[in-house]
């Protein structure tokens, strides 16, 4: 899987976690949602680890930076740069 594909899966999983987390704040006893949330977090952790092992750290002071003998956190591209981001397929956004 290339970088953009992994990034796209991680973005999707993290977004599901954000949205379900907000839902759970006001529906804390929804067992089904809670179970789903935990499943998503488990999957996202696996994808995040895969991304970081191949393309460098994602999180400030939470990810280790041991892919090489230099500090790679500062490396380009950054998320606001066009080349960082993945292109969504047309059917996914209309």
């Amino acid at each position: 899987m290339d970088r953009e594909k992994i990034l796209q899966s991680l973005t999707a999983l993290d977004f599901m976690a954000v949205d379900l987390g907000l839902y759970l704040n006001t529906h804390p006893n929804d067992k089904e949602a809670l179970e789903e949330y935990n499943k998503i977090i488990t999957s996202a952790n696996i994808v995040r680890e895969k991304y970081e092992s191949e393309y460098g750290p994602l999180c400030s002071f939470r990810s280790s930076d041991n892919n090489s003998d230099t500090w790679s956190w500062k490396n380009n591209p950054w998320p606001w740069e066009e080349s960082f981001n993945f292109q969504l397929a047309v059917k996914e956004c209309n």
């Binding site: 987390g21 907000l22 950054w78 998320p79 606001w80």
Partner: protein, 200 residues
Amino acid sequence: MWIYEKKLEFPVKIKNRDARLAKIMLEQYGGADGELGASIRYLSQRFSMITPEAKATLNDIGTEELAHLEIMGTIFSQLTDGLSVEEIKAAGLDPYYVAHGLGVYPASAAGIPFSAVGLQSKGNPVADLYENMAAEQKAKATYDYLIDLTDDPDVLRPLRFLREREIVHFQRFGECLDILRDYMNEKRMIVMPEINLLNK
């Protein structure tokens, strides 16, 4: 404490620069109903929330708004990347350019610098939650107008995502208000300790 994650909440990949679009996108970066105001509003108000649901919701939505601020800044940055002086002049972006170049500055589309005058933190959970529901509706309306004025699909995609989030946030704040009302309507019995008046 916050942890930065080196990715966007929703991808922004804009192929064509566009000075006119860049100019109007600023409204949701530093305008009265923009993402900066939203974030600061919720993250400030959370200190006076009294129910666990509202504390968590304001904390988490305030945090998500920072990710939205990043998306709007990214849209402006990519739309202005490589603009020529002619393009800047033709779109009327020259008053902005003379003050900020093509840097991202928190101002409204009309050039008014960001101001906390457009938000409140009232120390009253009911007042604050009503304000937040209104804020989400105003932000959604602003995205409606931005979408009306946008024809580039690369820009429309993140705008539509952000508009959807305003709807979800409005819903969550409404639920917080319902929960808060139930909490405030609960009957409470207060038991005073027995006082030994004779000091025996």
